[in-house]
Symmetry: C2
Subunit: 235 residues, 2 copies
C-alpha cells in the first residue's frame, strides 16, 4: 500500500467525563502525529484536541467539517493529504466516529481508495449500555432514533418488543433527549408487564444510571430522563 497515510478514527468523551477515564493513552500518541482532521464540528474538535493534546498548536491544524450541511462531493478533497503520506483523524461530536454519525461516509470513501483505516478504542453509549444491561450480547440490534409521531413510535416499540422476546435479540434505541419521557410513557403503556427494559442515562458521567427492571417494576420507579442522553434496551 506504498507510502499513503492512514485514516484514524478517534473517539471522544460522552459529555463531561474525564479523558483518562474513557480514552486509552495510546490515542494521545496518535493524536500528536496528526495535523489534518475530518470532524463533525470544528469547535468541539478543537476543544477536544486542546484538552487531550495541549502541546499541539491548534492554529497549525487543518480541519474539514463533515455533517448534514457538507456537500459530499467534497469528500475526496478531504482525503487528499493521505496521498502525500499524511495521516488523517476523524473526530465526531461524542463517542466513536462512524457509529451513528456522518463519519461513515469518509470511511467508505477511504476503502474505495485502498486507504488503511484504523479505529481507536473509546466510549460508545451503545456498547457500554449493552454490557451493563444484563441482556443477550450474542445477538443484538441498534435501531437508531424512533419515529417522531406517537402512533408510529408505539408501533415500532411493539415490533421491537416482539423481536426482543421471540428471537431473544436485545433491541437498543435512542430518542432526542427532550423526548425521552414520551418514550418511557409509551413503553410503560404498551409493553407486556414482564418485558425487561434497561434504561441507561449519562453514561460514563458521574450521574450515570444504568438500571434494568421489568415494565411492571418500572411503573413504580421514578427516574428523571428529561434532557439527559439515554439509551433504551429491550431484552
Amino acid at each position: 500500500m506504498n507510502n499513503k497515510g492512514i485514516l484514524y478514527l478517534i473517539p471522544t468523551t460522552l459529555g463531561e467525563s474525564a479523558y483518562s477515564q474513557v480514552i486509552p493513552s495510546f490515542n494521545n500518541t496518535i493524536l500528536q502525529e496528526i495535523d489534518v482532521f475530518v470532524v463533525e464540528n470544528i469547535k468541539t474538535a478543537r476543544r477536544f484536541i486542546k484538552k487531550t493534546a495541549p502541546e499541539k498548536v491548534i492554529d497549525d491544524l487543518v480541519f474539514y467539517e463533515i455533517n448534514k450541511r457538507t456537500n459530499l462531493d467534497m469528500l475526496p478533497t478531504f482525503l487528499k493529504p493521505i496521498d502525500e503520506g499524511k495521516n488523517i483523524g476523524v473526530i465526531s461530536d461524542a463517542g466513536c466516529p462512524g457509529v451513528a454519525d456522518p463519519g461513515a461516509d469518509v470511511v467508505a470513501l477511504a476503502h474505495q481508495n485502498n486507504i488503511k483505516v484504523v479505529p481507536l478504542v473509546g466510549p460508545s453509549s451503545i456498547l457500554l449500555s449493552l454490557m451493563a444491561s444484563g441482556f443477550n450480547g450474542q445477538s443484538f440490534c441498534f435501531n437508531g432514533y424512533l419515529p417522531k409521531e406517537q402512533k408510529d413510535r408505539v408501533r415500532k416499540l411493539k415490533d421491537l418488543e416482539r423481536m426482543a422476546i421471540a428471537q431473544k435479540q436485545t433491541q437498543l434505541f435512542i430518542e432526542t433527549p427532550y423526548r425521552n419521557h414520551h418514550v418511557m410513557e409509551d413503553l410503560l403503556a404498551n409493553c407486556n408487564p414482564n418485558t425487561k427494559l434497561c434504561v441507561a442515562v449519562d453514561i460514563t458521567m458521574a450521574s450515570e444510571q444504568i438500571v434494568t427492571k421489568t415494565i411492571v417494576e418500572w411503573k413504580s420507579t421514578k427516574i428523571d430522563l428529561n434532557k439527559r442522553p439515554c439509551v433504551f434496551l429491550l431484552g
Copy 2:
C-alpha cells in the same frame, strides 16, 4: 442503595495488543480497589491482572469462574461480597464482558438485587469493526455465530444480505476462526457481486486488517483468514 458494593465490568485486550493501547488508565485505578472477581477463565484473568496491576498480590484475590460448566444456581453466592460493601469485577477472556459471553447472567442477577453496575471502556471487536467498515452505524445488528451446517449457513448469509440491502442495516457476524475460510467461500459464491463485505481480522493487533470491498472485488483479493479472529460485516 446503602453501602453495597458495585459490580464493575472490566474489559481486557483482544489478543496480544499492548494494554495502554486499548485500556484507559482509569480501569487500573478501579482494578486496584477490587479483590473479588467473577471471570470467564481464572488463568486468563490472573494473567491480565498481573500485567495491568502488578502490585496486587494475586494470592489474596478471590476468583469465581463463570462459563458453560458453571452451575448458574451458584451465581448468588458470587455476588455475596457486594452485600458486605465489597466491589466485584467481571472479566471475560477477551474484550468487553457481557457482550457475547456468560458475564451477562451475573449482570442480570445484579440488577435483580438492585446492585449498581458500572461498565468500563475497552476494546470490542464488534464496535471497532463497525466503526472502520464505513457501513451504516445508525442501524446495525450483531448476529453472533453462523450455523455450522453449510446449507443452513448459506441460507443465513442470504437472509443477512437481504436485510443489509433492503433495510440499509449493517449485519455483523462471526465464525469459529478455523472455519473463517468456509464463510468467505460461501459469501463469494452466494452473494450479489455488488454487495459490500467488510472483513476485519486481528483487531487492535499489529497484524490488524480491516478491508471493505464489493463481493466481485473480493473474488480477486487474497486474504488469509485461517485461525485469525475475524468479524464479517455486510452493508
